[in-house]
């Protein structure tokens, strides 16, 4: 047993942190936050040049072929930096769906383009309110075309292609769902940008109107593929959330040391110390659960479904907890636009919803634990 990242992986983390500290300052994030550009194109290009976008994509498909542990390491740094790029939608969702279910030709078309930063991808799953469920998929696929509306779609307005979940049968059973690959620049696609909690990562409404689509994976297998994609994305996002939680904790700690009130550093008041200690506890538990998820992901262990749900819940809670209490430590300053606290608060709460809400994953976790106990 060795429950830690390797020295090489830690070196990669240092490298990613250094790169992001330089190229993704809070000032750079604000350019996207203020709506001047939908994402940081320079940063995206830089990430591709560093090999970070294709780190878990095999070399045959233009990636670095390193693996998922390496991707976890980078994800954590993306979270720390609050990077305003379509990393999660492209790398965790679209690329993973292709890796799991894509035909050779599909992988050859899209994966090298992802690794080189030329293509942005996303997953179009949700249709309004509700969590991931076959019965919430109403968009219809028939005769090789799609008809229906997806929203919210993460980074939908800037994506080049989408993996779309569609109904191929009449009933809402698992086996009636299939996945399709859609070139979003094709005709029959209409994209509308949606205002959202975290403007550093866009959300869109996409209308498909007799839009051509090619199947991704076998017909009727869509739900089983999606479940795997969501589990993998849950682990990878958990690392982003852990990175964000750690950064929010650091910001709070630094401010508590810096700010003097009543003649003392506010970090010397037990009420403040204990709040920060609790932030540390939640971030640590989340990190440990995420490490277990990383192990399960990288070894494709049978524990992955349970580990992914646990990592997801723990990391979601930790990021939300640290982000909100970081504002609390900062007092009035924390609630200003000028301070960076709200960027993490926005990101934490947007991330808590993106792959299905907390209560959805709680439900998943208990189901999975029961299955394991029954086995």
């Amino acid at each position: 047993m060795n429950f830690d990242f390797s020295d090489d992986q830690k070196q990669l983390r240092d490298q990613a942190r250094k790169f992001l500290t330089e190229k993704c300052s809070p000032k750079a994030v604000r350019v996207v936050l203020d709506g001047k550009t939908p994402y940081d194109k320079e940063l995206w290009k830089g990430l591709a040049e560093m090999g970070f976008l294709g780190v878990a994509i095999p070399e045959d498909f233009g990636g670095a072929g390193a693996g998922h542990l390496e991707l976890c390491v980078i994800a954590e740094e993306m979270g720390r930096a609050n990077a305003p790029v379509p990393f999660s939608s492209t790398v965790y969702l679209a690329a993973e769906a292709l890796l799991i279910a894509g035909r050779d030709a599909q992988k050859k078309k899209w994966l090298p383009a992802i690794a080189s930063g030329e293509a942005i991808g996303t997953l179009a799953l949700f249709e309004g309110k509700g969590n991931p469920s076959p019965k919430n998929v109403k968009l219809a696929a028939a005769g090789g075309v799609l008809n229906g509306v997806k929203k919210p779609v993460a980074d939908g307005a800037i994506a080049d292609f989408a993996v779309v979940a569609a109904r191929t049968g009449s009933v809402g059973r698992d086996s009636d769902i299939s996945l399709f690959l859609v070139d979003l620049k094709a005709s029959g696609v209409e994209v509308k940008n949606l205002a959202n909690l975290d403007p550093t990562r866009g959300q869109a409404e996409i209308t498909f109107n007799n839009c051509k689509a090619e199947p991704l994976g076998a017909a009727g297998e869509g739900w089983s593929i999606l479940t795997q994609v969501l589990d993998r994305a849950a682990v990878l996002s958990a690392f982003e959330q852990v990175g964000g939680a750690d950064r929010a904790l650091e910001m709070g700690r630094d401010y508590a040391l810096d700010r003097i009130a009543f003649g003392r550093q506010i970090g010397s008041f037990q009420a403040v110390k204990h709040m920060l200690a609790d932030m540390y506890v939640s971030a640590t538990l989340a990190r440990s659960n995420s490490y277990y998820g990383a192990w399960a992901l990288s070894t494709n262990a049978s524990e992955l479904p349970e580990a992914a749900a646990a990592a997801r819940i723990s990391a979601t809670q930790a990021f939300q907890h640290c982000a909100k209490n970081n504002i609390q430590v900062h007092g009035g300053m924390g609630f200003t636009w000028e301070f960076d606290c709200h960027m993490y608060y926005r990101r934490a709460n947007a991330m808590a919803l993106g792959l299905g809400s907390l209560s959805y994953w709680e439900d998943q976790l208990i189901d999975r634990m029961r299955k394991k106990n029954a086995a």
Partner: protein
Amino acid sequence: MNFDDTPQEAEFRSQARAWIAANAPKQYEDELRKSSLGRTQLKNANILEVAKAWQKKKAEAGWACLHWPRDYGGRGSSPIERVIWQQEEGPFGKLSGMFIIGHGMCGPTMMAFAREEHKRNYLPPLASGEKVWCQLFSEPAGGSDVAGLRTRAEKDGDEWVINGQKIWTSGAHYSDYGILLTRTDPNVAKHKGLTMFFLDMKSPGVEVRPIKQANGASDFNEVYFTNVRIPDHQRLGEVNDGWNVSLTTLMNERMSIGAGVSTGFPELFDYCASLMLDDGPAIEDRAVRSKLANWAVKASGLRYTSMRAISALSKGERPGPENSIGKLVAGAMIQDVATYALDLQGAAGVVSGPEDADVAGRFQAMLLRAPGTRVEGGTDEIMRNIIAERVLGLPGDIRVDKDVPFNKIPTKGGN
């Protein structure tokens, strides 16, 4: 990132498994498995005797105190081998409860500070469970302020004369030896005038009085010292350097990580899987599932946090103050879990007798034991201070007794 055993670890595991299968006191397995915090006892046997017999058997076959050197009754095992042993020992590990203080804290302190002949004489019988040790630190006026202790040790020729009182001493009523922190100089600041000894608990002048706890059990004691004489060669460390010696003890307490803290979660999960509520099985209920999931990730988070610590330990890193989170999280959790399990039972939750209560009254027992868990070994508040100060680097609490001679510090009350 690897959870699989290496070939050596797999070999160790299979040896341990085979030996345990052939030697463990299986007649108690079921009872031990079902026991939980606040209720580890055997119906038809004296648990102290059963525990001592099991420990002796382990020691004779070389499975006792795995991490100790062989010369002192251990096995010289790696931290990971310890974890493997604990996994394999399973419910029989609960029998080690009464040895934890001796093996986790007294033994390592002896190893660091006792003379060689004492180590060779005292440590092997401690490892084998033949002799039980306790740790005499806390005092009535001390509480979390351990260094505020008042038990005096005064030099008289080659001996020290001890007078005073300790409290909250786990297992003192069945202990043979103890390590004792005393005040040897009241004219200097409180941390600077302390000295550590070890002593025979049967020495004249030592009186042990069990304390009846809120849960009705008596695991702790008051210990009175009246002109108890300890030879100078039983001193551990230098005179007035006892605080540093005690820090070694407490540091070793952190080394006991991996023992797997009790959270109450597995018990609650099992219970909810079988419990029928008015509207159907508890585990199908949305609110129940949400609660369970929240506790599940705390329990798994603690488990993997200790595995990370063990990995660090096996690479030669020292366990740090970050390991304070285990007790902090688990202590509060077990209390909440027990409260919730009783809430699910409605009015019937109030019944606590093992014969009449659901799941043998284990949650009622947990509920009544849990407040102690949040206090012993440092309160939640002290644990948070440790994390805030030593992990996050925040300023220490303001201490008005700092640099004040101990005998000039105002005192009142205590418990």
